[in-house]
Point group: C2
Chain length 771, copies 2
């Protein structure tokens, strides 16, 4: 049974009732972020029950020593991890001398959490009966400002309900924090100053080894009582605490406002972090909670205006998609090309490295369509900036001559993961990076990126594939031996079809771009040839490999095989597998998983998804019918691709089932791990499964094309896309699809293959082709 305590609601994530078992799960689900920082939904006041504390600053990581059993040549020395940063949200609360702690209260009533996605804030309220029998009503509201992205704001309201109370608030900063996933109990932070002055407090701490300098800051006041300041300010080695005392009458409400956050050396000089923090506090104090919240609502409104997807008639589906879009925007806003999208965003520690192939394969389409194209360009540039490190990485594995292998997991371009079957063998990631360049150009029309930066990346990648393929005398073809495909439930296989196909495509695409750039951007071409030392004979060798690549194929079923030997497996479908054995990654030993036919996430089908224009519908259907029944979807990245393909095959019920799974993966905790954080990157896949899946949106020959379908559970759905700076709103009902164009230029699109000319003044509707 999946988790089901989240209350369905169109715009909010809501939990009602206090259950200690749900605390860690809710800490993940109610996480807030603003692209520059983020945090789990930890309580402000003390909580002595099980909790997973986490507050994270974008781009601040630590190279923890790698922990491996048996070292293999080529392993990275370190594993980059997201660091839990000093705590700024803490407010110790005591009432009549007793500490408020929900774990020790004799009763907790009317407990409610709400994450208001529309307005970008998080609130928790409850009535607690404390061990000393004082009954208090509490409401704590918190948000991380989009406008002042170094600032977080807390409004903590407390009302004694059954007697007058002596309330003491001790808001604090604390740099004595730890990481749950620490390998060696290393100390990650060096605290260099703990300062308290004039009601403000600052802790300067820098990360060891990586030397990120941060200032964690706060300023609080009792805004219900003349903005009263602190009575006492106490500093210890790693902590600063201010004390506020207020006599509160029964039924009266005392409100503490706490401003806090981080200034960091990525954005300021290291010796000016306190000064920068003071400036943030000054601005914020003038504005105050209400005005800051008003700005927050307005900024989120702008984001929603462009990126919202509405679903009518299905609250859970609506909640799911908004939850996904909300978290994607909390994680990455696209304004800083030094940043990227970590699979857990600001909601947990696991997969400590920031960047996986998820960014290219799943996130870029979302950001391309819902933001200015510069955002996707920033994401591409992140890899361009790391090209040299990718070449070094390939050298460590024995490649030469400028061959580039991008890391599986990285913070700064260096590989920081150490399972040989992944790090050394899951090389298809290189192809996703090349495909993203093609995809970006196809969608945005911004060809300039290729001569400017993309072509160098492509050359490095083509060189890698050329060296990585080897000639099989037995097959008289080029083969790629010893790889792990996207389906990580197979390791060290030969001729993974997806990898071979992608390798060939990378070479072909690179050769095309070389010709195009040589033709149209001669100066760039000469510069690139100079930098890369490319010579003519190289591209001949590439072509030889591409033209003679081997693809495992079953003549009988007329399908490509996931890899050599796939048909030797015991082909028992997931349906026929005892439910007690699921999820297999928690129930089975690794060897059993490997020799089984079960597929973790789309592999051959991932290739058919990326290159669907090269296969006819019957071919796609045959592959879907063969592979999907073996797919366990134990990767968060799996259901979305299958949902899109199912929609394309007009299997809307199947597409809907898979859509629910992707969109509510975390809300319903399908994989029983939401406590550890959310699956941020796969959330972009959810967006794709509506826009590309049900909406059937594609770019063909520079035009947007749609093939809309609608699940029977929905009355209507709508989304907006930014295509080459034209904003198009698409609304699909059971009967028809309606297109509305913003701006002042005409635009022609296709719907069900039919050309439609849209003008900004009037909307155009097209009857549904599928009933």
């Amino acid at each position: 049974m999946n988790q089901d305590y989240i209350i369905p609601n169109e715009w909010s994530i809501i939990e009602v009732g206090f259950d200690k078992e749900n605390v860690k799960s809710s800490e993940s689900l109610f996480s807030i972020g603003n692209g520059a920082m983020g945090q789990r939904a930890n309580f402000e006041e003390q909580y002595s029950g099980p909790t997973f504390q986490g507050s994270y600053v974008a781009g601040v990581y630590y190279p923890d020593k790698t922990r491996v059993g048996w070292w293999k040549n080529g392993y990275p020395e370190y594993f980059a991890k997201v660091l839990n940063a000093p705590n700024w949200i803490g407010i110790d609360v005591s009432v009549n001398g007793e500490a408020l702690d929900l774990n020790t209260c004799s009763a907790v009533e009317e407990f409610k959490r709400e994450l208001n996605m529309k307005e970008g804030w998080y609130r928790r309220s409850f009535i607690a009966t404390m061990p000393n029998s004082v009954k208090v009503s509490v409401k704590a509201t918190r948000f991380l400002s989009l406008d002042l992205d170094e600032l977080g704001v807390i409004k903590f309201e407390l009302t004694p309900l059954n007697e007058n109370a002596d309330v003491v608030f001790k808001p604090y900063l604390d740099s004595g924090i730890t990481n749950e996933d620490s390998n060696w109990d290393d100390k990650f932070w060096n605290t260099t100053s703990v300062v308290s002055e004039g009601g403000q407090a600052f802790i300067e701490a820098h990360t060891m080894k990586t030397h990120f300098d941060t200032c964690t800051f706060m300023e609080a006041s009792i805004i219900s009582h003349n903005n009263k300041g602190p009575e006492q300010e106490n500093c210890t080695e790693l902590r600063v605490e201010h004390q506020y005392r207020q006599e509160v009458k029964k039924g009266e409400t005392v409100i503490l406002q706490k401003l806090g956050g981080y200034t960091v050396s990525r954005n300021h000089k290291s010796d000016q972090l306190i000064q920068a923090a003071k400036e943030v506090l000054a601005k914020a104090s003038v504005l105050g909670f209400d005005k800051l919240l008003e700005m927050q609502v307005s900024s989120w409104s702008k984001i929603w205006d462009m990126s919202d997807i509405t679903i009518e008639g299905d609250v859970k589906a609506q909640q799911g998609i908004r939850f996904n879009i909300f978290h994607l925007n909390q994680t990455y806003l696209g304004t800083d090309s030094r940043l990227n999208i970590g699979p857990k965003g600001f909601t947990g520690e696991k997969y400590g490295g920031s960047t996986y192939w998820d960014t290219e394969a799943y996130c870029i389409p979302f950001y391309m369509a819902t933001k200015d194209h510069k955002v996707a360009r920033n994401l591409l540039q992140y890899r361009y900036n790391h090209l040299e490190k990718a070449i070094e990485n390939a050298q460590k594995l024995g490649f030469s001559g400028g061959a580039a292998l991008y890391p599986m997991v990285t913070m700064n371009g260096e590989e920081c993961h150490n399972e040989w079957e992944i790090t050394f063998e899951e090389i298809h990631r290189n192809g996703a990076i090349a495909f993203a360049i093609y995809n970006y150009y196809r969608y945005t029309g911004d060809y300039g990126y290729i001569p400017e930066m993309g072509l160098e990346v492509l050359i490095g990648i083509a060189r890698f594939w050329n060296q990585r393929a080897s000639y099989s005398n037995a097959k008289k073809k080029y083969v790629i031996l010893g790889v792990t495909g996207p389906n990580e439930y197979e390791n060290n296989v030969n001729n993974n079809w997806y990898t071979n196909y992608l390798a060939r495509w990378c070479i072909q695409f690179t050769l095309e771009q070389l010709a195009k750039v040589k033709d149209g951007y001669r100066a760039d071409y000469d510069r690139i040839v100079g930098i890369t030392k490319l010579n003519e004979s190289e591209s001949e060798a590439w072509l030889e490999v591409a033209d003679n690549m081997y693809f495992p194929y079953d003549e009988e079923r007329k399908i490509f095989l996931q890899q050599d030997g796939f048909l030797d497996k015991e082909l028992i479908t997931v349906e026929d597998l005892d439910k007690s054995q699921r999820p297999i990654n928690q129930k089975w030993s690794w060897d059993r998983i490997l020799r089984s036919p079960y597929i973790k996430q789309a592999d051959t089908l991932q290739g058919l998804y990326l290159f669907e224009d090269r296969f006819d519908l019957k071919e796609i259907q045959r592959h879907f019918d063969f592979y999907e029944p073996f797919t366990v979807h134990e990767s968060s990245l799996s259901p979305c691709v299958h949902s899109i393909l199912a929609a394309k095959l007009d299997r809307v019920n199947k597409a809907y089932e898979l859509y629910l799974r992707t969109s509510r993966l975390d809300l319903d905790d399908y994989n029983k791990e939401v406590e550890e954080g959310l699956h941020i990157t796969s959330m972009a896949g959810t967006w794709m499964s509506i826009v590309e899946g049900f909406g059937g949106m594609r770019v063909i020959e520079d035009k947007l094309c749609f093939t809309p379908r609608i699940p029977k559970e929905w009355e209507a759905y709508s989304f907006k896309v930014n295509f080459r700076n034209r904003i198009l709103k698409v609304r699909v009902t059971k009967e028809e699809t309606n297109f509305e164009l913003e701006g002042n230029q005409e635009m022609s699109i296709r719907c069900y293959g039919k050309r439609l000319v849209l003008s900004p003044t009037k909307s155009v509707s097209e009857s549904n082709a599928f009933a």
Copy 2:
């Protein structure tokens, strides 16, 4: 270039000249042991240069927490490691107030180490000029008694050469020791008492978690000066030290005798360890150094009488084989079925688990032929005792119904290794354990072991193979997917020929033994059926698998393929591989090794070696010619098997080249790792490469058969074997082979296929068939 500082000598390992670079290497090579304990050749006196300290007690291990990067279901919780035990050999020496330390001496002359293998002692001598200009001559002789196997003896002689000297000896015990390979800086030992009384000292320490109790003890006296006892006895928390002072005239020699060793709870009650130590010391004191040494020489003489191999005309080869035989006997004497043969013996920490498949595949033939058959039976019984744990181990991996998978590495029957590609997939080890049962019966004729214990083991193993094989609809055969063969440079391959062949053989052999036991040992049969809950239909299922096992085969070359897809590799032979790339396990990343054709150790050829009677010579030759050129022999277990096969193919030069490599692997440090310890188990392979290789000894239909050959470098060689309690001495010269039988019964053998009847009274010679 291999190491070459060891002086060739027929009976001794000799190092001349002091080179700090060689200290760790010599600490391994000059290790001593007596089956019950052993130690690296660390200096008695202080040494401040690089050293690897190690003293080990048989069967004393520690379950260190496993260190892995990414946990996989089924991994063991701990990794058993051999523990460095408290030091009993230490003697701090000072002369005129200056500490003797070879690392700080201004000159070290006439430095010599000798490991006298014939007599079983180790001596180090030198003349050192100390920083205070005192020149001393030192001779330290040490042995671990075979007769009192808890006792070690040191005679430390010192002569001041250029002035009278005030000599202070401080022999000590120290339990403040560490392991080089500690994963987590855990403390392994708890010291519970440090006692010094009447010139004797005792440290009681027990291992944490495993609770092995030990008493480390010593007693010293200046035997050159009236057996003078200590002036002072000092105890601290983890150490006890006695002080002896002696004025010594220039040219006069002072001699300290130190007796020491361990009593352990495997052999005594825990509260009687000190008492037991006192008894050992009492006996030893009465005997004294000279008598103890005389007994040592006599005991080693008995061992050599049975197990020596002579080689005439090739000192290096002679030294090599004796070095191997000596270390095997130092490591394991076969008297205790709780013990086994660790790959590093008492010479280092690596491969901390005691038992690998090496025991069955390599060591048992040596012990069968050179000891009473009870020794080999003890080794088999070790696995019988662990059958229940092997069944548990298989259960952890999803097998059921009494299927047994023996661990890859173990101390107590539990698996304690955690690379998935080894632990979960290198399952051929199960076959080696079954084969050893067959081999034992074939050689000793002791069928009784099978109904008594062996059959239960065989049933567990057959059940495993039956479940582990799966039916391939594509091949219409049973396949074994996802394995690692003996060649660990391939992981997760399908249909490793060796594994498939062994699996089929295991099932067939088990079914034969079931029938035989049912027929001839009905009570045992009934008992076993009761214990194992075996039913008839089970064996039908096994037969179905065995009869329909798939074997990858190349029709063109007429060879079995190491695994599916082997011919897709780039088949560049080792000869054509740039030397700078060797050894590939130090130069290449793991993925590159895996996709290469290079073979770490015999794999397909291991099968042809074990089952040579099922293949004709041409077939063996084809496989040897195909696979050997791709073999890098980067496992110590590789050259011996190839040497045996080469001899069989009458390629005596090749056999000789491989023989040198196996016999001098450590002496010449082929794999550049001798510092870490010696390769004990592969030493048995060296023995096999003479007896089975050049001697061509086989057991066929209950008879010993020989096909002798001799390398052109040798004048003659000889060996002895115990075959069913008959002792046969075989001497091969360039012209003929001579057989001499001990005892008083006739025996018929075959030589070059010809039957010879041997009688104890006269030797029989047969002219060589190969010139």
